[in-house]
Symmetry: C2
Subunit: 374 residues, 2 copies
């Protein structure tokens, strides 16, 4: 068979430590094509930390199903649209992030919070409850095609190349949404710009620093060593703090930040209690990484400055379009390394991502070569 | 000796489980009288949960010093003012809460956040660093006199009796400050009032419910059983949820609250992960109790609705005066049981507070009888 009956991708068959990255070609049946669906022939998909967590089942998701094709930073061309799709036509270059569906009727969906809809379907690893009563497990972008509800498909501005844009669909929106939602609207007298901290410089941090600057903020970047200092300044940082190289680092920025976006992907050795001291009274700390183990936090840590800790998940349709426009207006671009898609390429890319060996995202490319016209 | 060289109070001598509430009369030397100090002859002091935590050393404070006189919800009359005091004169009826001093010069103090000043001195159990170079350990309001910096002394409106006002100085301001700082200024279309949750109905909850109503909010009260339901409505609740009596309670209020003020004093059996589901996207959870053990929280719990958890400590000078005016304007009153001060009375009061046996605050009274003119 083949498109449109079946899609083909590079799938994880076994999430155990020896085999998680050894993907194999796999043919699968996508969800039934519905009136709001858009079929996309994929050209690029970049590799997100969530791909690794899912490939290893690091979040210990109950009932996680394998084979699983991961990938949710997808760019491609529209090749088919359902009869109710009005925003897209054949040949349009489009992107898809980590969300593929929501009910679009509840109070969350109706208030630009569809990403928090209890019915949300993630681009891979979730269950579609189809209109015909069947259920289909969603599969991601290390595949030749994607079939996605039109509300979760986005036009990609011509100024951005495939690889420059792909990481924006997840890493980009994941850091953009908490910034636009939480940057303070009013500043104390004498302060001209919001003071924003970005913890961690990887795929998420690389985007967060650029958004912070593009949104007019003064930006502090926190990293364990000064290895990435030069990159941080190139990306738009105003200040760089190597927390592992100065035991008194917190004194440089105590009670100073309005908002910190933490992209750290692990709680191991992470001194949250000290980090919280960087916040102004009432300041906010937002986790956008999703570590595999919980934090232990004493209420007292929040009491020294009445600060808040929260989290954020992706971003809304409205925010996605606003973000892509800002990227064009302010010259924001993802920094990527390209690897042609293949079983070996996916393995290399996933491992680079897991062990922080890329600068700062891997984009899988050359889909045409791997999949041909299938 | 006696006033002004020495003060006398009922002190905890040993915080161990058998003796923590067995206070004894104790004469001590107060801090030197400085230019901004006000001496107060105490008439009433109500009993706060912090008094219990301190009497038992439940927070495991390093270097906690005993004997210790606790108490920081103090009402009395001014009997002496330093040469730089301009707001108070002899005979004024005044109140003192849990803070007795701050530097009043740093950026926190200069922005109505003196309660977060790193130099803050608590009314009892802290060290004063005196102008003459000496150090004095602070002692609280189960005493005949208090000596306090004038910035932390407040006029008590004549409409409020001693007992009605005393709990406002700590329980009141502790719940008022996070409300006025975090009640959203803008509401979504169709919502007429902010939606506020108050968790726990004890000394703090009793005040929080009244402030929430006085500030024009729709108020949900959460308690384990329905034992206090009638009181909650009398205090101004619009809704009451007994979380221990309905396993699906969260469905009644899921994604509905803008702000929750949690007055729970213990993390034991406390299902924070479920409670967080009551919050709207971006909603805030503020802990004002200070439990003795930490919370364990998974970042994922915050991701379902991008909510925030924080804490708050007391409130500012400006907020204290605003609160006392609101109490007069809207008829807010603390509900108290009176117990005359004595070694037995303090013991009874502390134990009632610890085991949630009071409705909802104990005020120690009849100081004149206990201390006479000493």
């Amino acid at each position: 068979m083949g498109y449109p009956e079946t899609f083909e991708g590079f799938a994880v068959f076994d999430p155990s430590p020896e085999t998680w990255s050894s993907v194999k070609r796999w043919e699968y049946t996508p969800k039934p094509f519905e009136d709001h669906d858009v079929d996309i022939k994929i050209e690029t998909c970049s590799i997100c930390g969530s791909d690794v967590h899912s490939a290893t089942n690091g979040w210990h998701k109950k009932g996680a199903e394998y084979p699983l094709v991961v990938g949710h930073e997808i760019i491609g061309k529209v090749i088919r649209v359902g009869p109710k799709v009005t925003d897209f036509k054949l040949g349009d270059r489009v992107g898809v992030g980590a969300q593929a569906q929501a009910c679009l009727k509840c109070k969350l969906c109706k208030s630009n919070n569809e990403i928090y809809c209890p019915q949300l379907v993630h681009t891979f690893g979730s269950d579609y409850h189809n209109e015909d009563g069947t259920t289909t497990h969603s599969q991601g972008g290390y595949s030749n095609y994607a079939r996605i509800n039109d509300f979760f498909v986005f036009h990609i501005p011509e100024e951005l190349s495939n690889e420059e844009a792909a990481p924006m669909l997840c890493a980009g929106i994941t850091t953009f949404s908490p910034l636009v939602r939480n940057i303070p609207k009013e500043l104390p007298e004498g302060q001209t710009k919001p003071h924003i901290g970005i913890v961690g410089l990887g795929g998420l941090g690389m985007m967060a620093i650029q958004w912070s600057r593009a949104l007019g903020c003064e930006t502090w970047v926190f990293s364990r060593s000064s290895r990435k200092k030069e990159d941080a300044f190139k990306l738009g940082a105003d200040h760089f703090i190597a927390t592992g190289e100065d035991k008194d680092w917190v004194k440089k920025v105590e009670f100073d930040l309005d908002l910190v976006v933490c992209t750290a992907n692990s709680t191991e050795g992470f001194d949250l209690n000290t980090y919280l001291r960087t916040l102004k009274v009432g300041g906010k700390w937002v986790n956008v990484g999703l570590p595999e183990t919980p934090f232990t936090v004493h209420p007292r840590s929040f009491m020294a400055n009445a600060c808040f800790m929260g989290a954020s998940h992706l971003g809304s349709h409205v925010e996605m379009n606003r973000m892509l426009k800002l990227a064009v207006d302010k010259g924001v671009r993802a920094w990527v390394e390209k690897i042609p898609i293949s079983a070996e390429g996916v393995k290399e890319g996933l491992e680079k991502c897991r062990y922080n060996k890329c600068r700062y995202r891997v984009a899988l490319t050359d889909y045409e070569k791997a999949f041909g016209d299938k």
